[in-house]
């Protein structure tokens, strides 16, 4: 690995000041499961690592009047063991469990997953269907935005070099919302998603209310399928309506051919898996 400086600042403010001072030559270090690999193998001009993984402001998982706050530096393992997450956002737990393997989940953080911003990021669809928001901190203070606005393109987020992802918020009304996540990879462990998908919805008087569908690895960023959500809203939960929503998801996706799978195979997965998570969400909504 190249020669690097390592700094572990004491506060978020110090971290932001360091990043602002050093610009492109500095990079925040979270779990390191992506960044350390990149530093070993790809050229670049990173010379300073600012370790933000231990910063108090970015850690912790707690429920407030506003909803559930997940610190960006919460590891997947911490999310998987957290009683609030297990009870109120079980599909965020399920998505976390599909990442890498035990060792990856013990180091890797949910914030790192979002900031790395690969199209297949497993935590993204599960968070998107719960209308998650993210807080970003920089030299101009904090700002909050819907998680969809955070993703710009493959490996590109809205973050400026001096900015950091502070935490992720799931609004109170969506805690416990019937939801389902499914990841399809070539293996159960240590595999990226060919397609991952999540759905969430409520049933009121026999009609679907506030449906959400999000997909990963089918477009340059994780995406919501707004057209399918609009289609389903107020409809009866029939098999035909679910099939139509999944068909819309296929037409709204732009999967690529790569060495893992062809675009046409991914389209078949989108149809099948979208139906599957919608059906599962309806089962949960019916049971509750």
């Amino acid at each position: 690995m190249r020669t690097l400086d390592y700094i572990a600042p004491e506060s978020a403010a110090d971290a932001i000041a360091l990043l602002a001072e050093h610009g492109e030559s500095a990079r925040p270090l979270a779990g390191g499961t992506d960044l350390i690999v990149d530093l070993k193998h790809s050229p670049g001009n990173i010379h300073i690592l600012v370790d933000v993984s231990g910063l108090e402001e970015f850690r912790g998982i707690e429920e407030t009047d506003e909803g559930l706050r997940i610190g960006s530096m919460a590891t997947y393992a911490e999310i998987m063991e957290n009683p609030i997450c297990l009870e109120k956002t079980p599909e965020v737990v399920a998505a976390s469990h599909t990442v890498g393997a035990v060792q990856t989940r013990n180091l890797g953080t949910i914030g790192g997953n979002l900031v790395t911003c690969v199209p297949s990021a497993d935590s993204a669809p599960a968070l998107m269907v719960l209308d998650a928001e993210v807080t970003v901190a920089g030299t101009n203070g904090n700002r909050r935005m819907p998680i969809e606005e955070f993703f710009v393109g493959p490996r590109k987020t809205i973050l400026q070099p001096h900015e950091l992802l502070v935490d992720i918020w799931i609004p109170k009304k969506n805690l416990g919302k019937p939801s389902s996540f499914y990841k399809f990879g070539l293996r159960k462990g240590q595999a990226l998603a060919l397609v991952n998908v999540a759905a969430a919805l409520e049933l009121k008087s026999g009609k679907i209310v506030e449906p959400r569908i999000a997909l990963g690895a089918v477009a340059p960023t994780p995406i919501r399928i707004l057209k399918a959500e609009t289609f389903l809203s107020g409809k009866k939960p029939t098999k035909k309506n679910i099939q139509e929503a999944a068909r819309i998801a296929v037409t709204e996706s732009k999967p690529i051919d790569d060495f893992r799978a062809s675009a046409s195979y991914r389209c078949q997965l989108i149809q099948t898996l979208t139906q599957r998570v919608l059906t599962r969400s309806l089962e949960i909504a019916t049971a509750s």
């Binding site: 190249r2 400086d5 390592y6 499961t33 690999v37 690592l49 393997a101 013990n106 240590q190």
Partner: protein, 159 residues
Amino acid sequence: MLVELKVNGEPRSADVPPETTLLKMLREYLNLTGAKLGCDVGDCGTCTVIVDGVSVNSCLMLAARANGHEVTTIEGLANSNELHPLQEKFEEHGALQCGFCGPGMLISAKNLLDKNPDPTVFEVRDALAGNLCRCTGYTKIIEAVIDAGRVMNAEQANS
């Protein structure tokens, strides 16, 4: 930079360049060559060690990050008198052939049994998903881990 940590219960330290991984520090500065360098990208798991009670790929963790923390490596499993039950059961079941995955396999298995001494086959497979073995086909490894869990449970019940 000076990195001070506790390895297998003993305080150890070394002056290492900041980009040094924990694996490199263990192997090249502390002469603990049990954890192996395999893929160097966090896929194979042969570098697995336990840091503060959780297993990590030491090839992906900077030594600086481990400063002040407790590390358990494969060298910490056996003492001079006896093997760890996992090691005994791996031997008994013929769970290793070339042995290169062994240090990581055993540490991942220990990390599982420390938290869940009576795992199901599914739980063992999930716990070892980050450890590749190219020899055995995993079946004997899984049997050995479940058997070792039984032994450890029985020992605990008798103590």
